[in-house]
Symmetry: C2
Subunit: 202 residues, 2 copies
Amino acid sequence: MKLRTNRASPFARKVRIAAREAGLGGRIEEIETPVSPVAANDELARENPLVKIPALVTGAGEVLYDSAVICEYLDTLHEGVKLFPAAGPRRFAALRLQALADGILDAAVLCRYETFARPQPLRWAEWIEGQQRKIFGGLAALETGVDGWSGEFGIGQIGAACVLGYLDFRFPDWDWRTGRPRLVQWYETAARRPSVRDTAPS
Amino acid sequence: MKLRTNRASPFARKVRIAAREAGLGGRIEEIETPVSPVAANDELARENPLVKIPALVTGAGEVLYDSAVICEYLDTLHEGVKLFPAAGPRRFAALRLQALADGILDAAVLCRYETFARPQPLRWAEWIEGQQRKIFGGLAALETGVDGWSGEFGIGQIGAACVLGYLDFRFPDWDWRTGRPRLVQWYETAARRPSVRDTAPS
């Protein structure tokens, strides 16, 4: 399988961590692919019309996206502990946690574009503030929820690790750790997992 | 169940259509909820820390988001034709089509914010062009794929209907119909479904 990825992308990192947790790391060739929201990329667009990473080319030659779809697909290819609970309340708790992490990441990536890609005179402070409300509200929900994770490291926790790693990478000044001792403690352990350590953004 | 929704939101519409297709319309109270990416909304934030709609409060009092998670949850509550295939290639084709539709909608909603919410002097033409590449690339993929849908109306087709309805609603000048005859023909039939007709944006 071939994965279009990028070492800075938190959504691609979700897939890279999931692949390693599922024991599939050796079956996936990671193809570093630069992306920008304002640049055309015909090669990537042929695989994913949304011109986004991650995109996975399966062994059968099908292309899958987005990160949630790829992760669920990879989870069907192994017999270990599943990253997605099969059904019932545990499944929907995991999917909601993944959606929470993805939503925080969407907001954080929009902040990155606003403060880095967009020309300085066109930046809008209220936009950043609105996205930060989502990010800090989301972090508060993670801090509240973390005690219920009880050692699990499934798709929701993978998303949470990608959130915290991305904030450290792009927005260290926001200091997500202050006032969130349980999340800090959880992340200290999570960050030592080989799947997380080996996929640190750069 | 209670659904935080908004008659202009294409993501909320996905859930509203899915609920009707699943025969659950009568069990869901739809609560019209104004949202803005730059305004605080403490009431909504208490249910969804991402301050987004749709959000569903289940019968057990749990809150679920985002639209994909809510739709999959609703699909477990009925015994009719399932909106999400259970497994295998059909499941991943449906999930990819949903992701394609969601990605087009994300880009279209960002265009809406850029051209409506953001103050005029802060708008960035290249941002719009970048999002339009995703939208028109995505529409081309829908036009190519529609012949393979063979009468199915599952989660992927629900997403596609929400895309086309949203473009008609917010960007009629973009004229998505030109050059996409198969998608036009498909949408003419889809738009007559009661679930689609009853949830038209306004």
